[in-house]
């Protein structure tokens, strides 16, 4: 259940921002989650519901924006889109692809009051 740890860390980030920027209520949380990130969005949403309860972000709407995965194909010497770490290069079909982005798990911004 590492989504639970992530949810708790996310709340910690939000509360830290609340202390620093002086807001008391969070209405919306906007997250960017990469296609290759080690997180299950549904599980994270479920954990957040529990973790945010009783906090300044209780009932906040959580929006997930997907960030596509990208890799560098050694054979093609080119950036290619990839859907999974074990996926072949969509150009040459080979597996010499180093994943370069799509690991994001970021809190982008918050709608607060």
């Amino acid at each position: 259940m590492h989504e639970m740890s992530l949810a708790e860390d996310l709340l910690a980030l939000v509360e830290q921002a609340a202390n620093a920027q002086g807001f008391r209520r969070v209405r919306e949380i906007n997250l960017e989650i990469g296609a290759l990130a080690e997180v299950e969005i549904e599980a994270l949403a479920f954990c957040l519901e529990s973790v945010l309860k009783g906090s300044l972000a209780e009932g906040a709407r959580v929006n997930f924006t997907a960030v596509p995965g990208e890799g560098w194909c050694l054979e093609c010497a080119a950036k290619v889109p990839i859907a999974a770490l074990y996926a072949p290069c969509p150009r040459c079909g080979g597996y010499q692809v180093q994943a370069t982005s799509g690991f994001e798990m970021r809190v982008k911004d918050l709608l607060v009051e």
């Binding site: 590492h2 920027q21 074990y86 009051e113």
Partner: protein
């Protein structure tokens, strides 16, 4: 929660000590800077303050009450955050890595499924390196201190961290374990993570390398089934190769799958029972120990140069 630094999740247990009872005395030193952001966050449901258990070799993170978060009070605006959800863990990991680098310690994070033979391999590794390299072990398990006890029979210092309901070690737990370990300079720290091929992949502990262990009694398709872990690792040990004649495990296919996920992955075949391949594994470690020492020398030399520069400037002014 520690009421001085605010660290701790309220669920810590150190081997042989009572959890969350009895105030501990400050000052205690931390390898990492606590942000204090979580100081006000993790309040115990019953209103008590958690304190760190006194020094010992067993950390337990699964015994305390559930975290309760105080509600805030109440014109809508957008606030930019732009921070990684794992920022907190990553900050602790960076502090651990800095400390390890400064002390020339090579830290390896050993990850695998339960039952891959990690602890047996660890004991074998310790026996091969004991006396030549200062060694210490951090043992992660959900419960019990059985593995740390097994390691201690080799005479090497081991600290058990119980994650309770947690599925992985995190950098904060490892930071506190490091404080208790009293690691020698230029040594080797072996961290045996919780047996789990999923969650430990995402949590940087500050280690130099993740080493994934896959035994031939498991499926050769595990690198495809649990790609994150094989992607995060720098070395894969295929363990229990003495059992190859008795199991339907295709080593070549396993390697192919693993390198699909991670083309840079190094691979060694070993048997912790018959010692086959152990020498290659020890060589791999020793090469990296040499690098860790060289990196520390660089740091020490760089500091000495800086001191000499500052002294020269001071002398010029005086």
């Amino acid at each position: 929660m520690c009421n001085v630094c605010g660290c701790g999740h309220g669920e810590t247990r150190i081997e042989g000590e009572l959890p969350a009872e009895g105030a501990h005395e400050h000052p205690h030193e931390h390898l990492h800077d606590h942000t204090h952001a979580h100081e006000c966050l993790h309040r115990h449901a019953d209103g008590t303050l958690h304190s760190h258990p006194p020094a010992g070799d067993h950390l337990h993170y699964g015994l305390g009450p559930a975290h309760a978060h105080a509600p805030g009070l109440s014109q809508a605006r957008m606030v930019s955050i732009e921070q990684d959800i794992l920022a907190r863990n990553n900050a602790y990991a960076a502090a651990n890595r800095r400390w390890l680098t400064e002390h020339g310690v090579l830290a390896l994070n050993l990850v695998s499924s339960p039952g891959s033979g990690k602890t047996t391999l660890l004991v074998k590794t310790i026996k091969a390196l004991r006396g030549r390299v200062p060694l210490a072990v951090i043992e992660g398990d959900q419960q019990t201190n059985l593995d740390a006890e097994r390691i201690r029979t080799t005479g090497v210092r081991a600290i058990q961290v119980n994650t309770g309901k947690g599925c992985h070690l995190d950098a904060h737990m490892v930071g506190h374990a490091l404080e208790r370990l009293d690691l020698a300079e230029n040594g080797l720290l072996l961290i045996e993570n919780v047996g789990n091929l999923v969650c430990p992949a995402g949590f940087d502990l500050g280690e130099a390398h993740k080493v994934v262990i896959l035994s031939v009694t498991e499926g050769e398709d595990k690198p495809l089934k649990y790609p994150e872990m094989f992607h995060a690792a720098d070395l894969m040990l295929i363990n229990k190769i003495d059992l190859l004649p008795y199991v339907a495990f295709d080593v070549e296919r396993c390697i192919e799958y693993a390198q699909r996920v991670n083309p840079r992955l190094e691979i060694l075949r070993v048997s912790a029972t018959t010692d086959e391949g152990i020498e290659d594994w020890i060589d791999w470690i020793e090469a990296r120990l040499a690098r860790a020492r060289a990196a520390r020398e660089d740091t020490v030399d760089a500091l000495k140069r800086r001191i000499a520069e500052l002294e020269a400037r001071l002398a010029a002014k005086g």
